[in-house]
Symmetry: C2
Subunit: 222 residues, 2 copies
């Protein structure tokens, strides 16, 4: 093989490698880009900094998007040994179930918000205030399904003031399980929840962080 | 080729075909067999005909089983043009989301049980009595996500007296959408819900029907 031919092959190979790297980076970023574009397209900003995403996230649900979200959580929490996913009823459940498929079909537990006759007394219990609904719930998880040896990833659709997430963290603490981190679909970055949780040293991954929604215009954190 | 050889080949081919047919039948039945075995293994019968399946269905959730369930629903409602799945919070959501993957990733809507500030006024509304919790809920679906042209499959985890399912049927009727049918994971065959819904001419498919739970012994309908 002459030197010209060798150089040409090296050149082609470099080109291929470069494209591959660009593709990998692009695909990784794309997960969140898909979500952000969807929020811009289908999200509706209402008075009082309310963001309605009930077209695809928490009333009508898009499982194709949920699979993209699950894949991205799996990328961000890879190698951390997650063997259980914890969420809270109702809107976290769909995302958590689809995401679990990207964590080796690990079990999902959804924390329940009221005392039901179908749940017996052996529960971890905490209180969570819902600003959206203006009430305080008892939030419960059965002691049978969470305990030492579990490596727990918390998944939820929204993070605003952080009350629901703090409740779930409190339940994981009570159980003696390890908290790997928390994966959130949409964080309202202008409310205190995200900062509070990060200041506790918890690995918090929000796929879209909204810094402001003034005059109905959604601005994402880069 | 001599006649002996021909006969031998035909014999082998018949054997293969027979095995194939047995395999197909077995796989079809197996879906439900897996579920029934799981109910026998992990279900707990409590006083007052309460069946607790919170180890795999409605508190801790097994998405591998949910995929088997989704596949079976897809088999039973194949060719009927399902393009939307309707369920009710909270325990129907996980099953419905996983099942949607077996219906071309069609959208899922979960009916909400209380009036939340995040839902505006344009709703289909019905009342549902919960015997488990001893209360009556307003159950709502946004008019934006259900209407004429939709072919709706209702999915839920349990069917007992049928109140929740009747509520969802009422919502589909209000919307003008076509009701394809209802897929239920566990039906308590000794309560009135199943018979009532079937008498209305609705295609109701329950993957496990329990005929009795006397003295803690679960008996399935064949």
């Amino acid at each position: 093989m002459n030197i010209e031919k060798k150089r040409y092959i090296i050149f082609l190979y470099s080109l291929f490698l470069m494209n591959f790297v660009i593709f990998v980076i692009f695909t990784g970023e794309n997960e969140m880009e898909i979500l952000k574009q969807r929020i811009l397209k289908d999200g509706v900003v209402k008075e009082g900094n309310v963001l309605k995403v009930d077209k695809f996230l928490n009333h009508q649900m898009d499982v194709k998007l949920f699979n993209d979200i699950g894949e991205e959580f799996a990328r961000r929490f890879a190698g951390l040994g997650v063997n259980k996913i914890l969420t809270i009823e109702a809107s976290g459940i769909g995302i958590a179930c689809i995401a679990a498929q990207h964590f080796n079909n690990c079990p999902i537990i959804f924390a329940k918000k009221t005392l039901s006759q179908n749940l017996d007394g052996q529960m971890y219990i905490t209180q969570v205030k819902s600003y959206t609904k203006g009430v305080t719930y008892d939030v419960m998880v059965s002691k049978k399904y969470l305990g030492k040896g579990d490596k727990v990833l918390i998944i939820d659709d929204f993070l605003a003031n952080g009350c629901a997430l703090m409740g779930l963290i409190h339940i994981v603490e009570q159980s003696g399980a390890d908290l790997v981190g928390a994966g959130i679909v949409i964080e309202k970055g202008f409310q205190v929840g995200g900062q509070t949780i990060r200041d506790m040293g918890i690995k918090l991954e929000s796929l879209a962080i909204i810094d402001s929604m003034d005059d109905g215009k959604i601005v994402f954190r880069d």
